[in-house]
């Protein structure tokens, strides 16, 4: 009787905990479970498929464990048969070598295909031309350069909805990881190197992105906003910046290079020509002090 009471108390507590968690989770935004773009959506579906496949093995393990622990407890009056010398069975062992192998084989095929289909470098198939954005992780903020629009923005990236956005990424700081969970997975940004990432948004909305790789004391503040807007309002945003925002000259860029934390949004017109490539190139020259263009500001 006492034991039953104990289990009752435990079950009530568990139920309370689970329902509290349920109420809480229904009221907050869980980006990974609420994808808003084709890439994140496919990644989420893949997550569901693989989880389902894993449960094929995991659920039997749990059921078996519960059964064995209940049935074969020494103090269970309904104790099962005790066979102390039974130590192998070709059939059973074969079963749990083979079934997980088959399962992993299936999951491997899915993985192989998904690894190609969701390679971040792979363009999103659509008849719309992709918007090119060059992203640079700095100490400790994100700079987004729009080479075709001749604008740039800090800690803010805006793009039209249902249009592929083709990011080129690098770093002018320690390594960071670009992550906009509601629209796509991550890619590293590394000094002297360039990575790429495609994403798109299906809806108009504001999303939060951040760096996912520790990059120094300002790391926690490396958060940026992504705005997916209508085509018309994107055009007017670009126009607005072009005419009213300060220029991103090399000297302005050099001031951005300096470490700063929790930096608010900022918009710039006319980024210095070839800035993104120069940022990569300055780590590739034998001695970065000799990179004349960035250091001495030739071409301003």
């Amino acid at each position: 009787m006492r034991i039953k009471k104990k289990w009752l108390v435990v079950s009530v507590m568990l139920a309370a905990l689970v329902s509290a968690a349920g109420v809480y989770l229904s009221r907050v935004n869980i980006p990974l479970l609420e994808p808003k773009g084709p890439i994140a959506d496919k990644e989420f579906r893949l997550l569901l498929i693989i989880t389902g496949a894993m449960l094929v093995v995991v659920i039997p393990v749990f059921l078996l464990l519960a059964y064995v622990v209940w049935r074969y407890r020494e103090d269970n009056p309904k104790h099962g048969q005790y066979v102390p010398d039974w130590d192998h069975s070709r059939w059973l062992e074969g079963l749990w070598w083979v079934i997980p192998t088959i399962l992993i084989l299936i999951v491997s095929i899915i993985t192989w295909n998904a690894s190609y289909a969701l390679n971040p470098y792979r363009p999103i198939l659509t008849n719309k031309k992709a918007l090119v954005v060059q992203a640079v992780s700095l100490d400790w903020k994100w700079l987004f350069i729009y080479p075709a629009q001749h604008i740039a923005s800090l800690n803010l990236v805006e793009f039209p909805l249902k249009t592929p956005v083709h990011f080129y990424l690098t770093s002018d700081a320690p390594m960071n990881s670009f992550w906009l969970p509601q629209l796509s997975g991550q890619i590293y940004t590394m000094a002297g190197m360039q990575t790429q990432l495609y994403l798109a948004s299906d809806i108009i909305g504001n999303f939060t992105g951040r760096s996912a790789n520790l990059s120094g004391v300002g790391f926690a503040g490396m958060q940026f906003s992504a705005r997916s807007v209508s085509v018309a309002s994107f055009a007017s945003w670009v126009n607005q910046i072009r005419h009213h925002s300060p220029r991103l000259s090399l000297s302005v860029y050099r001031s951005l290079e300096k470490p700063s934390t929790y930096v608010p949004f900022k918009e710039y017109s006319n980024p210095a020509k070839g800035l993104f490539n120069d940022i990569i190139a300055k780590y590739m020259t034998p001695n970065r002090d000799h990179n004349i263009r960035l250091i001495e500001g030739i071409g301003l």
Partner: protein
């Protein structure tokens, strides 16, 4: 005036100066507590006039049983420090929201998380592992000693020196703020100019060489020192798992040593292996460190699997199920663990085929691991489950490890990993694997083998309370992190915006840590109460669990030479079967060769500690002094041809008779 004094000594003491003493109250109180422990111990030994005894019986010992106990004591103390770090991290993340920036500065927070990871892996998990291996392996294979006792002792002292160096960083200077694996370029001089990363490098360099030495010793011990009749396929499974793990040590730790050396060259001599510019490549470091780091996970977990295998059989009073499968599963894991390292950085931007290859290799590891799980379950099936704490840990392990493993398979799929990489989901995953797979395993092992060495059991009721506090706390601390990962929370954040809605989950995780602290307090209480009750109900004979392997055949306390007469073995569960036939061994005693005590392992490691400390602070003359001490110790030892002594058969006989009559040791 004082400034000029310091700068005068600047050359003599390198970068070292008084300004590096701790300033802020949290660090200062931590440093004082840390310094108080060795000082209190030293005073106690002086007061009780035990220095000679400590030196003779412990500091210079070559006996793996004593070395094992020293490993475990260090690991427990370091575990408490790692837990203190956890408390700070969880407090910070629970309160540092919006306009509140919490109790720690960003830099301090990052030092704390780096110290937590480094200490828990290198000085807690590794310490517990080597402790239990030292205690158990020679006994299980029927050996009187390890193959290379001096090498083994030196390995322990190098581990101790590494541990000392990481703790000195709290007293003077700072610690690495770059995460537990110190990725460049953040860990390069340009972005981390202080001594923190150097402390990290040299602490791990020294401890890592110690691990390599210990690994070599145990591979040779298992291969060459088994008792007559114990073919490889008749070894207890724990020994198989140790053989697998130590083989990994031999192949993996040299990679760590080289990688750390290259980073040290970058930082000290201005080289460019991993820098951003000048031809350096940070991803080379990331590849190298994980080429060590992934096998390291299996180095830690395999011996714990071995512990679980022993416990499953003994506490089910049944033979281990699928022994041969288990052995093959271990070796499958050993081989596969070397071809999965890239799954730690799918987000680097490698091609689809590279990512897919490493992802699939990673998933394949789930097969042998799953086989092991099923074999443990079927060991219990048709057994008679003796529901004691070790079995509780095993059952909790099966549940937690399966959930964590499922998360692991998810992250092995590259496109899913793009979303989960470096998120708190990852943090939850690897804590579920390492805490349940490694820590719970060694807790179970300690509860299981404790009476073998001390002659009394640990208090069962308190052990069970501790278990439940741990399990509840652990689930409360980590399940919220899975959800936080889905919510876009990354690891290592010292602050976040209130609008993200993360705070309630961080608070739940902090409550979980309160339960874990309760569990730890109960474990300490369990130890104290058990010592208190050691002559009462907890007192047990030499075989309290109805054991199956050779260590339970030995008397408790175990004599220094372990086996007065070497047993002969013809089956797997050697002692279980021996008990059935009631054979009385009447063979005459023989002379026993025993290693002499030697302080030189301690001297060599002491030199390494001086070397490391001096290198951190660029005190070049002291670097040379440290190096000379180590080299001198090594040469002196190699000249010594009398490293063993013979215990004559007559003495063995006398000691055994004394024991039989209830007197003596």
């Amino acid at each position: 005036m004082s400034h000029s004094l310091i700068s005068t000594f600047g050359g003599f003491l390198g970068r070292l100066s008084l300004k590096w003493l701790p300033h802020d109250p949290i660090t200062a109180s931590g440093a004082i507590m840390l310094a108080a422990v060795p000082i209190a111990v030293a005073l106690f030994i002086t007061y009780t006039k035990r220095w000679k005894w400590i030196y003779r019986e412990w500091l210079t010992t070559q006996d793996p049983k004593r070395i094992g106990i020293m490993y475990i004591i260090i690991a427990i103390l370091m575990g408490l420090r790692g837990l203190a770090d956890v408390i700070m991290v969880r407090t910070q993340q629970a309160v540092s929201v919006g306009s509140n920036h919490g109790i720690l500065s960003a830099s301090h927070f990052q030092q704390v998380i780096s110290a937590h990871g480094t200490i828990m892996i290198f000085f807690v998990a590794m310490g517990l592992m080597f402790g239990i291996i030292n205690l158990i392996v020679p006994l299980q294979i029927g050996a009187r000693d390890v193959a290379f006792p001096f090498l083994n002792a030196t390995g322990f002292w190098l581990f101790f020196a590494g541990m000392a160096l990481i703790n000195i960083s709290l007293l003077i200077g700072d610690f690495s703020a770059t995460g537990w694996l110190a990725y460049p370029p953040l860990s390069e001089l340009k972005y981390s100019p202080t001594v923190g990363v150097d402390y990290w490098i040299w602490s791990l360099e020294i401890a890592g060489i110690g691990s390599l030495l210990a690994g070599i010793n145990f591979v040779v011990t298992i291969l060459k020192k088994r008792v007559k009749g114990m073919k490889l396929m008749k070894m207890p499974l724990f020994c198989w798992s140790v053989l697998g793990s130590m083989s990994l040590v031999i192949f993996a730790f040299p990679i760590l040593t080289v990688t750390l050396t290259l980073l040290a060259l970058d930082r000290t001599l201005g080289m460019h292996f991993f820098t951003s510019g000048h031809g350096g490549n940070m991803m080379m470091y990331v590849n190298l460190i994980w080429a060590w780091g992934h096998p390291e996970v299996y180095i830690l977990v395999l011996p714990a699997f071995g512990v679980y295998s022993e416990i499953a059989a003994v506490f089910s009073r049944k033979k281990l199920f699928g022994y041969v499968s288990m052995v093959w599963a271990i070796w499958a894991i050993v081989i596969l663990s070397f071809i999965v390292w890239l799954h730690h950085f799918f987000t680097m931007g490698a091609g689809s085929n590279v990512n897919a290859f490493f992802g699939i290799m990673t998933m394949i590891i789930a097969v042998p691991t799953g086989v092991k799980l099923f074999n443990w379950l079927f060991t219990m099936y048709k057994g008679k489950l003796n529901m004691k704490t070790p079995l509780y840990w095993l059952i909790a392990f099966v549940v937690v490890f399966t959930i964590g493993g499922m998360a692991g398979v998810l992250m092995a799929v590259p496109p899913i990993d793009f979303q989960l990489h470096n998120s708190l989901f990852l943090v939850a995953h690897f804590h579920m694997m390492i805490v349940s797979g490694v820590l719970f395993g060694y807790f179970a092992g300690i509860a299981y083998w404790y009476p073998k060495f001390l002659g009394y059991r640990l208090n069962e009721r308190l052990g069970r309370y501790a278990f439940w506090s741990w399990l509840v706390g652990f689930l409360l601390a980590f399940i919220p992190l899975y959800i936080l990962g889905f919510m876009g929370a990354t690891r290592r954040l010292d602050h976040y915006s209130a609008s993200l809605g993360w705070q309630p989950l961080f608070i739940v995780a902090a409550i979980g840590v309160v339960f874990i602290i309760l569990g730890v307090v109960l474990q300490i209480l369990q130890l104290i109460v058990s010592i208190w009750q050691r002559n009462g109900e907890l007192k047990v004979g030499h075989d309290p669990w109805d054991g199956r392997t050779l260590e339970w055949s030995l008397p408790t306390p175990i004599p220094a030479y372990n086996f007065a007469r070497l047993p002969e073995v013809s089956t797997r569960d050697a002692y279980w079967n021996a008990k059935k036939v009631k054979y009385i061994d009447r063979r005459p005693y023989e002379d026993i060769e025993m290693p002499k005590n030697s302080p030189l392992g301690m001297v060599i490691a002491g030199g390494a500690l001086i070397f490391g400390f001096a290198f951190v602070w660029h005190i070049w003359w002291l670097v040379i002094v440290g190096l000379l001490v180590s080299v001198f110790g090594l040469i002196y030892r190699s000249m010594d041809e009398h490293t063993e002594y013979t215990l004559p058969a007559s003495d063995v006989k006398q000691m055994e008779q004394m024991r039989a009559s209830g007197g003596g040791i």
